[in-house]
Subunit: 199 residues, 2 copies
């Protein structure tokens, strides 16, 4: 309905995840009204990120260098590796400030429906990291959905025989959540994983 | 929490309207995974739109040229002007396919809270367009909120003495809506504007 470049911009914005035609239009008009410097800095940030972001050669987290900030950090505990699906999961775990070990980003989860098997994930590279015997514990923090569970089970079977401790994040009720609104599977997990209050 | 350029990109995206930190992160990672050509075409669309989009010298709708597509279209009825707040409202009205006249984009509405008075809108230019006597009807299609109503009332008082027909879009229940969920003001307007069924 718009002419040339505005329609092009709305079209491009609509292709982004979570952006429908209405949001795209709103963002497009916001950009037309915005300060040219702000618009340029957005366009530059897109191009720069795409050009300069690489994947850590050790753990496949996003980085600008050969290896990521966490792998380079000498204060991190090198006996633990937390295995996650995506780089954004690293950020989520880091925010908890509960974990001081290393990470390994698989690049997704096993999903037959998307035609993605173990060979498509960075599992071979994870096994190689275990070669020197420094790592003693693997914490599998894949998502608590079908694909994540399948991947966790696969890794547990693969890594168990190597004499490592392999654990999985606890499933249960979200803190601050309401029991009444919990789905039956989450509530079932919360029961199965119940802990003594004195523990 | 991320390093350099990714964090910059997330930061830039978060400044867009309706994009929170979570959406910004999701879009940033989508762009990192996306085809470089697609990413480039998004960045180019932003820069191009910002550079080439101007405002129609007659009606202030967005355009690439001196005047917009609608003002240039000889098939449009030059006796009617539909007054709207923003260019996106032109698109909304055009989608109805009910209106074949011209438009005038005010560039907002009168809003003392935002320190925006009649002098900050393209009202002077609207009056100039009426000089040659071609226009006989003004349809005020400002938003059905306080600012839009104030602007409509102001325009009606200003234009009424010029001997023009000045009308306002009808307020009432949205088609496909549910009476039960209508707010009391909308329902009140729907009563006040009720029409005989045989009409």
């Amino acid at each position: 309905m718009f002419e040339g470049p505005i329609q092009d911009l709305i079209g491009e914005l609509s292709r982004l995840p979570g952006i429908g035609p209405k949001s795209a239009q709103r963002i497009a008009f916001y950009l037309l009204d915005a300060d040219p410097a702000e618009v340029k800095s957005l366009a530059d940030a897109i191009v720069t990120a795409k050009r300069s972001v690489r994947f850590c050669q050790v753990c496949f987290n996003v980085t600008e260098d050969e290896t990521c900030r966490i792998c380079r950090d000498a204060r991190r505990d090198r006996h633990q590796i937390c295995v996650v699906e995506e780089s954004k999961d690293v950020v989520a775990v880091e925010r908890t400030r509960e974990y001081r070990g290393l990470y390994h980003v698989l690049g997704g989860a096993i999903s037959p429906i998307d035609n993605r098997g173990p060979g498509d994930l960075h599992i071979r590279e994870l096994i190689q990291r275990l070669d020197d015997g420094t790592v003693t514990e693997i914490i599998v923090a894949t998502n608590p959905n079908t694909e994540g569970e399948v991947t966790a089970t696969y890794l547990a079977r693969l890594l168990g025989p190597l004499g490592l401790t392999v654990s999985r994040l606890a499933s249960g009720l979200p803190v601050g959540g309401d029991l009444e609104y919990a789905d039956e599977i989450t509530l079932g997990r919360a029961f199965a994983g119940r802990r003594s209050v004195g523990e």
